[in-house]
Symmetry: C2
Subunit: 235 residues, 2 copies
């Protein structure tokens, strides 16, 4: 809970078999500890809320000493933001590749590729939502705010202003309302409480997500775009 | 954290100026304390997560003794479930009256009345979402699970199976997917992190909610219903 987060670990004398030096060959016990801490953080921060998870619990779940959190990541904030950055790398890469291979553009197609990738990483939208929900105006959360801004470029997701100005949307559609409902459909399936899912008889499986993606992209196409635009979209 | 929640307060001898007796005339200091605890609970549980709020904080915010939580509500669970039940009464009443006065039926119209009522109670969907997100299989949360089931009858909200069987939905629409996206649009605007809202330039004001309601009901009508059904809906 430091007012100014330290991006670098504590200066431990490097002669002392520093884990940062152990890059070649097999993973040392120490780099395994770092990896275990990342895995423990992913598991605990997906399940519970940020403030509820203590460094002691994180270390216990990872089977390491709590001091290693400070050594590798500076603080709990540092561990959380490193974990979420490392989690984001393959997700963003897959999303980018899939978008490119499908020549996907527009929110309906983006939603298809997004759900397809998130089916393999269902914890990711939940983590991003939690990260975004922290009070980023607080000094202690600045490191987390920075991680959020590095991972998510919200500008890239603001499709609807562009579509509005291109005259593709129905006359009555407000682009901000459209954007908000688009975010709702993207994020909510990964946040929805089990009690709702059980009542609906739904499991957030890859198969269900694929079906939901197809239907939601149709919902957007019919519900927000002019009929003559929709009829040109791939079915 | 009792395995079996007690619905009644501890048996304090009634001769001793019990607050339960002070029903007539001005509110006594004690009934004011009960009210202050309800208000403190609403404020703290809206802002923060259930596990993060302690009875000590609740009492401090209410300006009362923590022992009164046990006296009036049995436990933190009891205070939370009582607060949410009492919060729900006017919300559900307004929703029912508005639905009746507008002769509203169907999800598009329901969404209009729902947003109109929630504009005056923006904390309510958030509290319900938090209540629904608690692990209700845990014994300590049973009292909360019971409150949830009393307040929300999910069956009443499962419109889309009925519409599907009445042949009103587009052929390709799956009623479970439709239902999930309907819930997403209903709940997400009250959960969305400020960082998204700021980027969108949106404030969740009554005016914005009215606009969103109108647009989302159109989105559902055009996106899920057969065109011949939609054309009969009020514009």
């Amino acid at each position: 809970m430091k007012p100014t987060p330290e991006p670098t670990p504590d200066p431990i004398p490097e002669q002392k078999n520093s884990p940062k030096k152990a890059k070649a060959g097999r993973p040392s016990q120490d780099t395994q500890s770092r990896e275990q801490l990342i895995l423990a953080a992913r598991s605990l921060f997906v399940e519970r809320d940020y403030a509820q998870v203590s460094t002691r619990e994180l270390a216990k779940k990872a089977g390491t000493d709590p001091a290693l959190i400070r050594y590798y990541f500076g603080s709990k904030e540092g561990l959380f933001s490193t974990m979420i950055r490392e989690t984001a790398v393959p997700v963003k890469q897959q999303l980018w590749q899939l978008n490119r291979s499908l020549g996907a553009d527009g929110p309906a197609n983006f939603m298809l590729t997004y759900y397809r990738v998130m089916a393999a990483h269902p914890h990711f939208p939940r983590l991003i939502f939690k990260l975004a929900s922290l009070d980023q105006s607080q000094a202690k959360n600045q490191e987390l705010a920075q991680a959020f801004n590095e991972i998510i470029n919200l500008e890239d997701l603001l499709f609807f202003d562009k579509f509005k100005s291109q005259g593709l949307l129905r006359e009555e559609v407000d682009s901000r309302c459209a954007q908000l409902s688009f975010f709702a459909m993207m994020v909510f399936p990964f946040l929805v409480p089990d009690i709702f899912l059980n009542k609906l008889g739904v499991e957030i499986s890859p198969e269900f997500l694929q079906q939901l993606a197809t239907q939601n992209s149709q919902l957007l196409a019919h519900g927000l775009f002019k009929p003559e635009v929709t009829s040109h979209e791939p079915k």
